[in-house]
Symmetry: C2
Subunit: 326 residues, 2 copies
Protein backbone atom coordinates (compact mmCIF):
# COMPACT_ATOMS: atom_id res chain seq x y z
CA UNK A 1 0.00 0.00 0.00
CA UNK A 2 1.23 3.40 -0.97
CA UNK A 3 2.03 6.02 1.68
CA UNK A 4 -0.30 9.00 1.20
CA UNK A 5 1.35 12.38 1.50
CA UNK A 6 -0.04 15.90 1.84
CA UNK A 7 1.95 19.00 0.88
CA UNK A 8 1.41 22.00 3.14
CA UNK A 9 2.62 25.15 1.37
CA UNK A 10 3.40 25.44 -2.32
CA UNK A 11 6.51 27.49 -3.05
CA UNK A 12 9.76 26.12 -4.52
CA UNK A 13 10.02 23.50 -1.78
CA UNK A 14 6.41 22.34 -2.13
CA UNK A 15 6.85 21.97 -5.87
CA UNK A 16 10.02 19.98 -5.27
CA UNK A 17 8.13 17.66 -2.92
CA UNK A 18 5.40 17.16 -5.51
CA UNK A 19 7.98 16.09 -8.12
CA UNK A 20 9.98 13.97 -5.65
CA UNK A 21 6.88 11.98 -4.67
CA UNK A 22 6.45 11.17 -8.37
CA UNK A 23 9.93 9.60 -8.36
CA UNK A 24 9.02 7.16 -5.57
CA UNK A 25 6.50 4.45 -6.48
CA UNK A 26 5.74 3.65 -2.82
CA UNK A 27 4.44 7.20 -2.20
CA UNK A 28 1.32 8.99 -3.42
CA UNK A 29 0.67 12.74 -3.34
CA UNK A 30 -2.84 13.47 -2.08
CA UNK A 31 -2.93 17.22 -2.56
CA UNK A 32 -1.57 20.65 -1.81
CA UNK A 33 -2.80 22.84 1.07
CA UNK A 34 -2.47 26.58 0.69
CA UNK A 35 -3.45 29.82 2.41
CA UNK A 36 -4.02 31.37 -1.01
CA UNK A 37 -7.27 31.01 -2.92
CA UNK A 38 -7.06 27.36 -4.11
CA UNK A 39 -8.37 28.21 -7.57
CA UNK A 40 -5.43 30.60 -8.03
CA UNK A 41 -2.85 27.82 -7.54
CA UNK A 42 -1.98 25.52 -10.42
CA UNK A 43 0.10 22.47 -9.51
CA UNK A 44 2.83 21.02 -11.73
CA UNK A 45 1.29 17.56 -11.91
CA UNK A 46 -2.39 18.43 -11.62
CA UNK A 47 -2.63 17.67 -7.88
CA UNK A 48 -5.80 18.95 -6.21
CA UNK A 49 -5.40 22.16 -4.19
CA UNK A 50 -7.22 22.74 -0.90
CA UNK A 51 -7.56 25.72 1.37
CA UNK A 52 -5.65 25.02 4.61
CA UNK A 53 -8.87 24.79 6.67
CA UNK A 54 -9.81 21.64 4.68
CA UNK A 55 -6.92 19.89 6.39
CA UNK A 56 -8.74 18.68 9.51
CA UNK A 57 -11.41 16.78 7.66
CA UNK A 58 -8.79 14.99 5.54
CA UNK A 59 -7.05 13.28 8.43
CA UNK A 60 -8.12 9.83 7.24
CA UNK A 61 -6.81 10.40 3.73
CA UNK A 62 -3.25 11.46 4.58
CA UNK A 63 -0.52 9.42 6.28
CA UNK A 64 2.14 12.13 6.46
CA UNK A 65 1.97 15.88 5.94
CA UNK A 66 5.14 17.53 4.62
CA UNK A 67 5.40 21.17 5.69
CA UNK A 68 6.94 23.43 3.08
CA UNK A 69 6.73 26.83 4.79
CA UNK A 70 9.52 29.09 6.00
CA UNK A 71 11.45 28.77 9.24
CA UNK A 72 11.09 32.38 10.34
CA UNK A 73 7.36 32.55 10.98
CA UNK A 74 5.53 29.56 9.40
CA UNK A 75 7.05 26.41 10.85
CA UNK A 76 7.36 27.42 14.54
CA UNK A 77 3.55 27.59 14.60
CA UNK A 78 2.53 25.18 11.84
CA UNK A 79 4.55 22.10 12.78
CA UNK A 80 3.27 21.78 16.38
CA UNK A 81 -0.25 22.63 15.21
CA UNK A 82 -0.31 20.08 12.40
CA UNK A 83 1.33 17.40 14.58
CA UNK A 84 -2.02 17.27 16.42
CA UNK A 85 -3.57 15.80 13.29
CA UNK A 86 -0.84 14.17 11.21
CA UNK A 87 2.57 12.59 11.17
CA UNK A 88 4.63 15.54 9.92
CA UNK A 89 8.02 16.38 8.40
CA UNK A 90 9.54 19.85 8.21
CA UNK A 91 12.84 21.48 7.19
CA UNK A 92 13.10 23.98 10.08
CA UNK A 93 16.58 25.46 9.72
CA UNK A 94 16.98 28.27 12.26
CA UNK A 95 19.91 26.52 13.94
CA UNK A 96 19.71 28.40 17.25
CA UNK A 97 16.05 27.54 17.75
CA UNK A 98 15.98 23.87 16.76
CA UNK A 99 15.99 22.52 20.34
CA UNK A 100 13.06 24.75 21.30
CA UNK A 101 11.17 23.85 18.12
CA UNK A 102 11.75 20.15 18.77
CA UNK A 103 10.37 20.49 22.31
CA UNK A 104 7.18 22.16 21.08
CA UNK A 105 6.67 19.66 18.26
CA UNK A 106 7.44 16.71 20.53
CA UNK A 107 4.81 17.71 23.09
CA UNK A 108 2.11 18.06 20.43
CA UNK A 109 3.07 14.84 18.65
CA UNK A 110 3.21 12.72 21.80
CA UNK A 111 -0.21 13.96 22.87
CA UNK A 112 -1.69 12.98 19.53
CA UNK A 113 0.26 9.74 19.10
CA UNK A 114 1.94 11.11 15.98
CA UNK A 115 5.52 11.03 14.67
CA UNK A 116 7.14 14.33 13.72
CA UNK A 117 10.51 14.65 11.97
CA UNK A 118 11.93 18.17 12.11
CA UNK A 119 14.90 19.92 10.51
CA UNK A 120 15.23 17.50 7.59
CA UNK A 121 17.17 18.58 4.52
CA UNK A 122 20.89 18.89 3.89
CA UNK A 123 22.02 21.45 6.49
CA UNK A 124 20.50 20.82 8.93
CA UNK A 125 20.02 17.22 7.85
CA UNK A 126 22.56 15.26 5.83
CA UNK A 127 25.42 17.53 6.90
CA UNK A 128 24.39 17.01 10.55
CA UNK A 129 24.52 13.25 10.01
CA UNK A 130 27.92 13.53 8.35
CA UNK A 131 29.21 15.45 11.37
CA UNK A 132 27.74 12.95 13.82
CA UNK A 133 29.14 9.84 12.14
CA UNK A 134 32.57 11.39 11.57
CA UNK A 135 32.84 12.72 15.12
CA UNK A 136 31.73 9.41 16.63
CA UNK A 137 34.43 7.55 14.67
CA UNK A 138 37.31 10.03 14.86
CA UNK A 139 36.91 11.32 18.39
CA UNK A 140 40.27 13.12 18.20
CA UNK A 141 39.77 15.51 15.32
CA UNK A 142 38.22 18.68 13.98
CA UNK A 143 35.41 19.20 11.55
CA UNK A 144 34.89 21.87 8.98
CA UNK A 145 31.84 22.83 6.97
CA UNK A 146 32.20 24.61 3.65
CA UNK A 147 29.11 25.89 1.86
CA UNK A 148 28.78 26.43 -1.88
CA UNK A 149 29.16 27.00 -4.63
CA UNK A 150 25.60 28.15 -4.17
CA UNK A 151 23.09 30.93 -4.26
CA UNK A 152 22.42 32.70 -0.96
CA UNK A 153 18.95 34.25 -1.05
CA UNK A 154 19.67 36.39 2.01
CA UNK A 155 22.77 37.94 0.47
CA UNK A 156 21.05 38.42 -2.89
CA UNK A 157 18.22 40.24 -1.11
CA UNK A 158 20.69 42.44 0.78
CA UNK A 159 22.23 43.63 -2.50
CA UNK A 160 18.80 44.31 -4.00
CA UNK A 161 18.05 46.74 -1.18
CA UNK A 162 20.93 49.05 -2.28
CA UNK A 163 19.81 52.18 -4.13
CA UNK A 164 20.20 51.84 -7.89
CA UNK A 165 20.20 48.03 -7.86
CA UNK A 166 17.45 46.37 -9.89
CA UNK A 167 18.33 42.73 -9.36
CA UNK A 168 21.13 40.62 -7.96
CA UNK A 169 22.35 37.10 -7.39
CA UNK A 170 25.01 36.22 -4.82
CA UNK A 171 27.06 33.02 -4.86
CA UNK A 172 28.83 31.73 -1.78
CA UNK A 173 32.03 30.00 -2.89
CA UNK A 174 34.24 27.85 -0.67
CA UNK A 175 37.85 29.03 -0.63
CA UNK A 176 39.75 26.31 -2.45
CA UNK A 177 43.02 26.88 -0.62
CA UNK A 178 41.24 26.51 2.73
CA UNK A 179 39.64 23.22 1.62
CA UNK A 180 43.04 21.92 0.54
CA UNK A 181 44.58 22.77 3.93
CA UNK A 182 41.84 20.82 5.68
CA UNK A 183 42.13 17.87 3.29
CA UNK A 184 45.86 17.80 3.90
CA UNK A 185 45.24 17.40 7.62
CA UNK A 186 46.77 20.74 8.65
CA UNK A 187 43.91 21.32 11.16
CA UNK A 188 43.90 25.06 10.45
CA UNK A 189 41.91 27.56 12.50
CA UNK A 190 39.56 29.17 9.98
CA UNK A 191 36.82 31.76 10.40
CA UNK A 192 33.72 31.57 8.21
CA UNK A 193 35.10 34.45 6.14
CA UNK A 194 38.39 32.65 5.61
CA UNK A 195 36.49 29.60 4.37
CA UNK A 196 34.26 31.42 1.89
CA UNK A 197 34.29 34.03 -0.82
CA UNK A 198 31.33 35.96 -2.19
CA UNK A 199 30.62 36.55 -5.85
CA UNK A 200 27.88 39.02 -6.83
CA UNK A 201 26.09 39.48 -10.14
CA UNK A 202 24.32 42.81 -10.09
CA UNK A 203 21.87 44.56 -12.45
CA UNK A 204 21.76 48.34 -11.97
CA UNK A 205 19.46 51.10 -13.23
CA UNK A 206 20.58 53.21 -16.19
CA UNK A 207 23.06 55.83 -15.04
CA UNK A 208 23.50 54.33 -11.56
CA UNK A 209 26.84 54.95 -9.83
CA UNK A 210 28.51 51.56 -10.11
CA UNK A 211 31.53 52.54 -8.04
CA UNK A 212 29.32 53.56 -5.12
CA UNK A 213 27.21 50.40 -5.40
CA UNK A 214 30.28 48.17 -5.48
CA UNK A 215 31.65 49.99 -2.42
CA UNK A 216 28.36 49.65 -0.55
CA UNK A 217 28.25 45.93 -1.25
CA UNK A 218 31.86 45.28 -0.25
CA UNK A 219 31.56 47.29 2.96
CA UNK A 220 28.19 45.94 4.10
CA UNK A 221 28.71 44.67 7.66
CA UNK A 222 28.04 40.97 8.46
CA UNK A 223 27.08 40.19 4.87
CA UNK A 224 30.20 41.14 2.91
CA UNK A 225 32.69 43.27 4.86
CA UNK A 226 34.68 40.35 6.26
CA UNK A 227 34.77 38.41 3.01
CA UNK A 228 36.74 38.49 -0.20
CA UNK A 229 33.96 39.80 -2.44
CA UNK A 230 33.85 40.27 -6.20
CA UNK A 231 31.14 42.24 -7.98
CA UNK A 232 30.14 41.80 -11.62
CA UNK A 233 27.71 44.20 -13.28
CA UNK A 234 25.60 42.43 -15.89
CA UNK A 235 22.35 42.98 -17.80
CA UNK A 236 18.98 41.70 -16.62
CA UNK A 237 18.92 39.42 -19.67
CA UNK A 238 22.23 37.84 -18.72
CA UNK A 239 21.10 37.41 -15.11
CA UNK A 240 17.89 35.72 -16.22
CA UNK A 241 19.70 33.51 -18.67
CA UNK A 242 22.75 32.40 -16.70
CA UNK A 243 21.76 32.79 -13.06
CA UNK A 244 18.15 31.64 -12.85
CA UNK A 245 18.85 28.38 -11.03
CA UNK A 246 19.20 27.75 -7.32
CA UNK A 247 22.31 25.58 -7.15
CA UNK A 248 23.98 24.89 -3.83
CA UNK A 249 26.08 22.36 -2.00
CA UNK A 250 29.13 22.13 0.16
CA UNK A 251 31.33 19.78 2.14
CA UNK A 252 31.66 18.52 5.68
CA UNK A 253 35.25 17.43 6.27
CA UNK A 254 36.60 15.83 9.41
CA UNK A 255 40.28 15.27 9.88
CA UNK A 256 41.44 13.26 12.86
CA UNK A 257 44.10 10.94 14.18
CA UNK A 258 44.27 7.43 15.67
CA UNK A 259 46.95 5.11 17.02
CA UNK A 260 48.78 7.45 19.44
CA UNK A 261 48.26 10.30 16.97
CA UNK A 262 50.50 8.79 14.31
CA UNK A 263 47.92 8.05 11.65
CA UNK A 264 45.66 10.65 10.09
CA UNK A 265 42.30 10.09 8.45
CA UNK A 266 40.13 12.45 6.44
CA UNK A 267 36.39 11.88 6.01
CA UNK A 268 34.64 14.08 3.47
CA UNK A 269 30.94 14.31 2.66
CA UNK A 270 30.12 16.63 -0.18
CA UNK A 271 27.09 17.71 -2.17
CA UNK A 272 26.88 19.40 -5.57
CA UNK A 273 23.27 20.35 -6.17
CA UNK A 274 21.67 21.85 -9.26
CA UNK A 275 18.58 22.73 -7.24
CA UNK A 276 18.70 23.40 -3.52
CA UNK A 277 14.88 23.17 -3.04
CA UNK A 278 14.49 20.01 -5.11
CA UNK A 279 17.26 18.21 -3.22
CA UNK A 280 15.84 19.33 0.12
CA UNK A 281 12.44 18.08 -1.04
CA UNK A 282 13.93 14.68 -1.84
CA UNK A 283 15.27 14.43 1.71
CA UNK A 284 11.87 15.43 3.16
CA UNK A 285 10.15 12.73 1.14
CA UNK A 286 12.53 10.02 2.41
CA UNK A 287 11.88 11.27 5.96
CA UNK A 288 8.12 11.10 5.37
CA UNK A 289 8.54 7.40 4.60
CA UNK A 290 10.48 6.98 7.83
CA UNK A 291 7.91 8.94 9.88
CA UNK A 292 5.12 6.72 8.58
CA UNK A 293 6.98 3.51 9.41
CA UNK A 294 8.12 4.66 12.84
CA UNK A 295 4.55 5.64 13.67
CA UNK A 296 3.28 2.22 12.56
CA UNK A 297 5.71 0.70 15.04
CA UNK A 298 4.57 2.96 17.85
CA UNK A 299 7.60 5.27 17.86
CA UNK A 300 5.96 8.63 18.41
CA UNK A 301 7.05 12.19 19.26
CA UNK A 302 9.53 14.69 17.87
CA UNK A 303 12.47 13.20 15.96
CA UNK A 304 15.39 14.42 13.89
CA UNK A 305 17.39 12.66 11.17
CA UNK A 306 19.94 11.83 13.89
CA UNK A 307 17.31 9.62 15.55
CA UNK A 308 16.13 7.68 12.51
CA UNK A 309 17.52 4.17 11.89
CA UNK A 310 18.82 4.51 8.31
CA UNK A 311 16.86 1.53 6.93
CA UNK A 312 13.59 3.39 7.60
CA UNK A 313 14.45 6.00 4.94
CA UNK A 314 14.72 3.59 2.03
CA UNK A 315 11.99 2.25 -0.20
CA UNK A 316 13.76 -1.10 -0.16
CA UNK A 317 13.28 -3.78 2.47
CA UNK A 318 15.87 -4.27 5.21
CA UNK A 319 16.72 -7.70 3.75
CA UNK A 320 17.40 -6.20 0.32
CA UNK A 321 19.48 -3.37 1.78
CA UNK A 322 21.59 -5.75 3.84
CA UNK A 323 22.24 -8.12 0.96
CA UNK A 324 23.00 -5.39 -1.59
CA UNK A 325 24.66 -2.51 0.30
CA UNK A 326 26.77 -4.21 2.96
CA UNK B 1 29.83 4.73 34.25
CA UNK B 2 32.31 3.59 31.67
CA UNK B 3 31.39 0.91 29.13
CA UNK B 4 33.70 -2.09 29.64
CA UNK B 5 35.06 -3.63 26.46
CA UNK B 6 36.84 -6.90 25.75
CA UNK B 7 39.05 -7.43 22.70
CA UNK B 8 38.84 -10.89 21.15
CA UNK B 9 41.84 -11.45 18.89
CA UNK B 10 44.98 -9.35 18.84
CA UNK B 11 46.29 -8.66 15.33
CA UNK B 12 46.38 -5.27 13.62
CA UNK B 13 42.65 -4.78 14.19
CA UNK B 14 42.76 -5.75 17.87
CA UNK B 15 45.65 -3.35 18.45
CA UNK B 16 43.69 -0.62 16.71
CA UNK B 17 40.71 -1.28 18.99
CA UNK B 18 42.95 -1.08 22.06
CA UNK B 19 44.23 2.35 20.99
CA UNK B 20 40.78 3.59 19.90
CA UNK B 21 39.29 2.76 23.30
CA UNK B 22 41.98 4.96 24.81
CA UNK B 23 40.70 7.87 22.72
CA UNK B 24 37.18 7.59 24.16
CA UNK B 25 36.80 8.52 27.84
CA UNK B 26 33.42 6.78 28.15
CA UNK B 27 34.96 3.41 27.29
CA UNK B 28 37.35 1.15 29.22
CA UNK B 29 39.36 -1.76 27.83
CA UNK B 30 39.15 -4.77 30.13
CA UNK B 31 41.58 -7.10 28.40
CA UNK B 32 42.61 -9.04 25.34
CA UNK B 33 41.54 -12.64 24.64
CA UNK B 34 43.82 -14.77 22.53
CA UNK B 35 44.24 -18.36 21.34
CA UNK B 36 48.00 -17.95 21.71
CA UNK B 37 49.82 -18.46 25.00
CA UNK B 38 48.83 -15.32 26.94
CA UNK B 39 52.33 -14.81 28.31
CA UNK B 40 53.64 -14.59 24.72
CA UNK B 41 51.42 -11.60 23.91
CA UNK B 42 52.48 -8.11 24.94
CA UNK B 43 49.81 -5.43 24.56
CA UNK B 44 50.54 -1.86 23.47
CA UNK B 45 49.02 -0.27 26.57
CA UNK B 46 49.70 -2.97 29.14
CA UNK B 47 46.21 -4.50 28.97
CA UNK B 48 45.91 -7.92 30.62
CA UNK B 49 45.90 -10.88 28.23
CA UNK B 50 43.70 -13.93 28.79
CA UNK B 51 43.45 -17.27 27.09
CA UNK B 52 40.13 -17.45 25.20
CA UNK B 53 38.70 -20.05 27.58
CA UNK B 54 38.78 -17.44 30.38
CA UNK B 55 36.06 -15.60 28.53
CA UNK B 56 33.04 -17.37 30.02
CA UNK B 57 33.90 -16.58 33.62
CA UNK B 58 34.38 -12.88 32.77
CA UNK B 59 30.82 -12.29 31.60
CA UNK B 60 30.09 -9.93 34.50
CA UNK B 61 33.16 -7.80 33.82
CA UNK B 62 32.57 -7.04 30.13
CA UNK B 63 29.70 -5.10 28.57
CA UNK B 64 30.68 -5.59 24.93
CA UNK B 65 33.15 -7.93 23.24
CA UNK B 66 34.73 -6.65 20.03
CA UNK B 67 35.75 -9.51 17.73
CA UNK B 68 38.94 -8.86 15.81
CA UNK B 69 39.38 -12.12 13.91
CA UNK B 70 39.22 -12.78 10.17
CA UNK B 71 36.09 -13.20 8.07
CA UNK B 72 37.17 -16.36 6.30
CA UNK B 73 37.18 -18.80 9.19
CA UNK B 74 37.14 -16.97 12.57
CA UNK B 75 34.04 -14.79 12.62
CA UNK B 76 31.48 -17.19 11.10
CA UNK B 77 32.01 -19.37 14.16
CA UNK B 78 33.13 -16.89 16.81
CA UNK B 79 30.44 -14.23 16.53
CA UNK B 80 27.43 -16.54 17.03
CA UNK B 81 29.32 -18.38 19.76
CA UNK B 82 30.29 -15.26 21.71
CA UNK B 83 26.84 -13.72 21.27
CA UNK B 84 25.66 -16.37 23.74
CA UNK B 85 27.69 -14.60 26.43
CA UNK B 86 28.20 -10.97 25.40
CA UNK B 87 26.94 -8.08 23.37
CA UNK B 88 29.31 -8.31 20.40
CA UNK B 89 30.60 -6.29 17.45
CA UNK B 90 32.42 -7.70 14.44
CA UNK B 91 33.72 -6.52 11.06
CA UNK B 92 32.62 -9.51 8.98
CA UNK B 93 33.26 -8.48 5.38
CA UNK B 94 32.61 -11.44 3.10
CA UNK B 95 29.91 -9.57 1.20
CA UNK B 96 28.18 -12.61 -0.26
CA UNK B 97 27.76 -14.26 3.14
CA UNK B 98 26.62 -11.33 5.27
CA UNK B 99 22.91 -12.25 5.23
CA UNK B 100 23.69 -15.79 6.34
CA UNK B 101 26.09 -14.59 9.03
CA UNK B 102 23.49 -12.13 10.31
CA UNK B 103 20.91 -14.91 10.56
CA UNK B 104 23.22 -17.10 12.63
CA UNK B 105 24.29 -14.27 14.90
CA UNK B 106 20.72 -13.03 15.30
CA UNK B 107 19.47 -16.42 16.47
CA UNK B 108 22.21 -16.74 19.10
CA UNK B 109 21.85 -13.15 20.31
CA UNK B 110 18.06 -13.27 20.63
CA UNK B 111 18.27 -16.48 22.63
CA UNK B 112 20.73 -14.89 25.04
CA UNK B 113 19.10 -11.45 25.17
CA UNK B 114 22.23 -9.88 23.68
CA UNK B 115 22.81 -7.25 21.00
CA UNK B 116 25.17 -8.12 18.16
CA UNK B 117 26.36 -5.62 15.54
CA UNK B 118 27.95 -7.29 12.53
CA UNK B 119 29.86 -6.05 9.47
CA UNK B 120 30.95 -2.75 11.02
CA UNK B 121 33.84 -0.86 9.47
CA UNK B 122 34.08 1.22 6.33
CA UNK B 123 33.15 -1.22 3.55
CA UNK B 124 30.94 -2.85 4.67
CA UNK B 125 29.95 -0.14 7.11
CA UNK B 126 30.29 3.57 6.41
CA UNK B 127 30.25 3.02 2.65
CA UNK B 128 27.06 0.96 3.03
CA UNK B 129 25.48 3.83 4.96
CA UNK B 130 26.58 6.32 2.32
CA UNK B 131 24.93 4.17 -0.36
CA UNK B 132 21.73 3.79 1.65
CA UNK B 133 21.28 7.50 2.41
CA UNK B 134 22.15 8.58 -1.13
CA UNK B 135 19.87 6.01 -2.74
CA UNK B 136 16.98 6.87 -0.42
CA UNK B 137 17.28 10.56 -1.34
CA UNK B 138 18.09 10.34 -5.04
CA UNK B 139 15.88 7.46 -6.07
CA UNK B 140 16.57 8.15 -9.77
CA UNK B 141 20.32 7.76 -9.98
CA UNK B 142 23.34 5.50 -10.05
CA UNK B 143 25.99 4.89 -7.48
CA UNK B 144 29.65 4.13 -7.90
CA UNK B 145 32.23 2.87 -5.43
CA UNK B 146 35.90 3.57 -5.98
CA UNK B 147 38.48 1.98 -3.69
CA UNK B 148 41.92 3.36 -2.93
CA UNK B 149 44.49 4.58 -2.99
CA UNK B 150 45.17 1.68 -0.70
CA UNK B 151 47.04 -1.51 0.00
CA UNK B 152 45.31 -4.75 -1.00
CA UNK B 153 46.64 -7.59 1.12
CA UNK B 154 45.15 -10.21 -1.19
CA UNK B 155 46.88 -8.82 -4.25
CA UNK B 156 50.16 -8.35 -2.39
CA UNK B 157 50.00 -11.99 -1.32
CA UNK B 158 49.29 -13.11 -4.88
CA UNK B 159 52.45 -11.42 -6.11
CA UNK B 160 54.51 -12.95 -3.29
CA UNK B 161 53.54 -16.43 -4.49
CA UNK B 162 55.34 -15.89 -7.83
CA UNK B 163 58.69 -17.63 -8.14
CA UNK B 164 61.60 -15.29 -7.51
CA UNK B 165 59.54 -12.72 -5.58
CA UNK B 166 60.71 -12.04 -2.02
CA UNK B 167 58.23 -9.39 -1.00
CA UNK B 168 55.55 -7.17 -2.57
CA UNK B 169 53.05 -4.46 -1.89
CA UNK B 170 50.10 -3.76 -4.21
CA UNK B 171 48.16 -0.49 -4.26
CA UNK B 172 44.68 -0.24 -5.71
CA UNK B 173 44.27 3.20 -7.27
CA UNK B 174 40.99 4.68 -8.46
CA UNK B 175 41.12 5.80 -12.09
CA UNK B 176 40.94 9.59 -11.91
CA UNK B 177 39.31 10.02 -15.32
CA UNK B 178 36.53 7.60 -14.31
CA UNK B 179 35.90 9.52 -11.07
CA UNK B 180 35.68 12.77 -13.02
CA UNK B 181 33.13 11.30 -15.43
CA UNK B 182 30.95 10.24 -12.49
CA UNK B 183 31.33 13.61 -10.73
CA UNK B 184 30.32 15.34 -13.95
CA UNK B 185 27.09 13.38 -13.99
CA UNK B 186 27.82 11.41 -17.15
CA UNK B 187 26.39 8.22 -15.59
CA UNK B 188 29.00 6.06 -17.34
CA UNK B 189 28.87 2.27 -17.40
CA UNK B 190 32.13 1.20 -15.74
CA UNK B 191 33.51 -2.21 -14.86
CA UNK B 192 35.62 -2.64 -11.73
CA UNK B 193 38.72 -2.76 -13.93
CA UNK B 194 37.79 0.48 -15.65
CA UNK B 195 37.42 2.15 -12.27
CA UNK B 196 40.74 1.00 -10.83
CA UNK B 197 44.42 0.64 -11.63
CA UNK B 198 46.96 -1.54 -9.87
CA UNK B 199 50.43 -0.45 -8.85
CA UNK B 200 52.89 -3.07 -7.61
CA UNK B 201 56.15 -2.66 -5.69
CA UNK B 202 58.12 -5.88 -5.92
CA UNK B 203 61.33 -7.14 -4.30
CA UNK B 204 62.99 -10.00 -6.20
CA UNK B 205 65.78 -12.44 -5.46
CA UNK B 206 69.23 -11.77 -6.88
CA UNK B 207 69.35 -12.80 -10.52
CA UNK B 208 65.62 -13.32 -10.82
CA UNK B 209 64.07 -12.84 -14.28
CA UNK B 210 62.30 -9.51 -13.90
CA UNK B 211 60.71 -9.64 -17.33
CA UNK B 212 59.09 -13.00 -16.57
CA UNK B 213 57.89 -11.83 -13.16
CA UNK B 214 56.37 -8.64 -14.57
CA UNK B 215 54.62 -10.70 -17.25
CA UNK B 216 53.30 -13.19 -14.69
CA UNK B 217 51.90 -10.38 -12.58
CA UNK B 218 50.27 -8.54 -15.48
CA UNK B 219 48.71 -11.68 -16.89
CA UNK B 220 47.46 -13.14 -13.62
CA UNK B 221 43.73 -13.84 -14.12
CA UNK B 222 41.18 -12.11 -11.83
CA UNK B 223 43.88 -10.27 -9.91
CA UNK B 224 45.63 -8.24 -12.62
CA UNK B 225 44.84 -9.35 -16.18
CA UNK B 226 41.84 -7.03 -16.62
CA UNK B 227 43.52 -4.01 -15.06
CA UNK B 228 45.97 -1.37 -16.09
CA UNK B 229 48.90 -2.61 -13.98
CA UNK B 230 52.30 -1.07 -13.37
CA UNK B 231 55.20 -2.93 -11.76
CA UNK B 232 58.13 -1.30 -9.96
CA UNK B 233 61.09 -3.37 -8.82
CA UNK B 234 62.59 -1.97 -5.64
CA UNK B 235 64.88 -3.09 -2.83
CA UNK B 236 63.65 -4.63 0.42
CA UNK B 237 64.99 -1.56 2.24
CA UNK B 238 62.93 0.79 0.09
CA UNK B 239 59.82 -1.39 0.53
CA UNK B 240 60.25 -1.39 4.30
CA UNK B 241 60.88 2.32 4.42
CA UNK B 242 58.27 3.69 2.03
CA UNK B 243 55.56 1.02 1.91
CA UNK B 244 55.22 -0.24 5.47
CA UNK B 245 51.86 1.40 6.20
CA UNK B 246 48.39 0.10 5.48
CA UNK B 247 46.70 3.16 3.95
CA UNK B 248 43.35 2.81 2.24
CA UNK B 249 40.20 4.70 1.41
CA UNK B 250 37.87 5.37 -1.44
CA UNK B 251 34.69 7.12 -2.48
CA UNK B 252 31.01 6.33 -2.83
CA UNK B 253 29.48 8.68 -5.37
CA UNK B 254 25.82 8.86 -6.32
CA UNK B 255 24.68 10.98 -9.19
CA UNK B 256 20.95 11.43 -9.73
CA UNK B 257 18.27 13.73 -11.04
CA UNK B 258 15.14 15.40 -9.68
CA UNK B 259 12.42 17.70 -11.01
CA UNK B 260 11.43 15.88 -14.19
CA UNK B 261 15.06 14.97 -14.72
CA UNK B 262 16.19 18.53 -15.30
CA UNK B 263 18.36 19.02 -12.22
CA UNK B 264 21.34 16.85 -11.36
CA UNK B 265 22.84 16.27 -7.94
CA UNK B 266 26.06 14.54 -6.93
CA UNK B 267 26.58 13.14 -3.43
CA UNK B 268 30.11 12.03 -2.60
CA UNK B 269 31.37 10.31 0.54
CA UNK B 270 35.09 9.78 0.62
CA UNK B 271 37.72 8.43 2.99
CA UNK B 272 41.47 8.95 2.99
CA UNK B 273 42.94 6.67 5.63
CA UNK B 274 46.54 6.39 6.82
CA UNK B 275 45.71 3.11 8.55
CA UNK B 276 42.96 0.81 7.35
CA UNK B 277 42.92 -1.31 10.56
CA UNK B 278 43.00 1.67 12.93
CA UNK B 279 40.11 3.38 11.16
CA UNK B 280 38.09 0.16 11.09
CA UNK B 281 38.83 -0.23 14.80
CA UNK B 282 37.47 3.27 15.46
CA UNK B 283 34.21 2.33 13.75
CA UNK B 284 33.99 -0.90 15.79
CA UNK B 285 34.43 1.03 19.01
CA UNK B 286 31.61 3.47 18.16
CA UNK B 287 29.41 0.47 17.34
CA UNK B 288 30.28 -1.13 20.69
CA UNK B 289 28.90 1.97 22.39
CA UNK B 290 25.71 1.63 20.33
CA UNK B 291 25.39 -2.11 21.05
CA UNK B 292 25.64 -1.45 24.79
CA UNK B 293 22.99 1.28 24.71
CA UNK B 294 20.61 -0.64 22.46
CA UNK B 295 20.88 -3.64 24.77
CA UNK B 296 20.15 -1.47 27.83
CA UNK B 297 16.95 -0.40 26.07
CA UNK B 298 15.96 -3.97 25.29
CA UNK B 299 16.80 -3.89 21.58
CA UNK B 300 18.36 -7.31 21.12
CA UNK B 301 19.41 -9.55 18.22
CA UNK B 302 21.61 -9.19 15.14
CA UNK B 303 22.02 -5.65 13.83
CA UNK B 304 24.03 -3.83 11.19
CA UNK B 305 25.08 -0.19 10.98
CA UNK B 306 22.06 0.32 8.71
CA UNK B 307 19.82 -0.44 11.71
CA UNK B 308 21.47 1.79 14.31
CA UNK B 309 19.94 5.19 15.07
CA UNK B 310 22.94 7.50 14.53
CA UNK B 311 22.73 9.16 17.99
CA UNK B 312 23.60 5.82 19.61
CA UNK B 313 27.10 5.89 18.10
CA UNK B 314 28.20 9.14 19.70
CA UNK B 315 29.70 9.72 23.13
CA UNK B 316 27.64 12.91 23.35
CA UNK B 317 24.06 13.09 24.58
CA UNK B 318 21.19 13.41 22.14
CA UNK B 319 20.47 16.92 23.47
CA UNK B 320 24.04 18.03 22.82
CA UNK B 321 24.08 16.51 19.34
CA UNK B 322 20.81 18.17 18.38
CA UNK B 323 21.86 21.59 19.64
CA UNK B 324 25.35 21.47 18.11
CA UNK B 325 25.12 19.46 14.88
CA UNK B 326 21.72 20.35 13.46
Amino acid sequence: MSIRIGIYGYGNLGKGVELAIGQNPDLTAVGVFTRRAPESVKTLTGLPVYFVSKMEEMQDKIDVMILCGGSATDLPKQTPYLAQYFNVVDSFDTHAKISEHLKNVHAAAVKAGKTAVISAGWDPGMFSLARLYSDAILSQGKDYTFWGKGVSQGHSDAIRRIEGVLDARQYTIPTQSAIERVRNGEDPVLSTSEKHERECYVVVADGADKARIEKEIKEMPNYFADYHTTVHFISQEELNEKHAGLPHGGSVIRSGVTGNGKNRHVIEYSLKLDSNPEFTASVLVACARAAYRLNKEGVIGGKTMLDIPPVYLSANSRETLISTLL
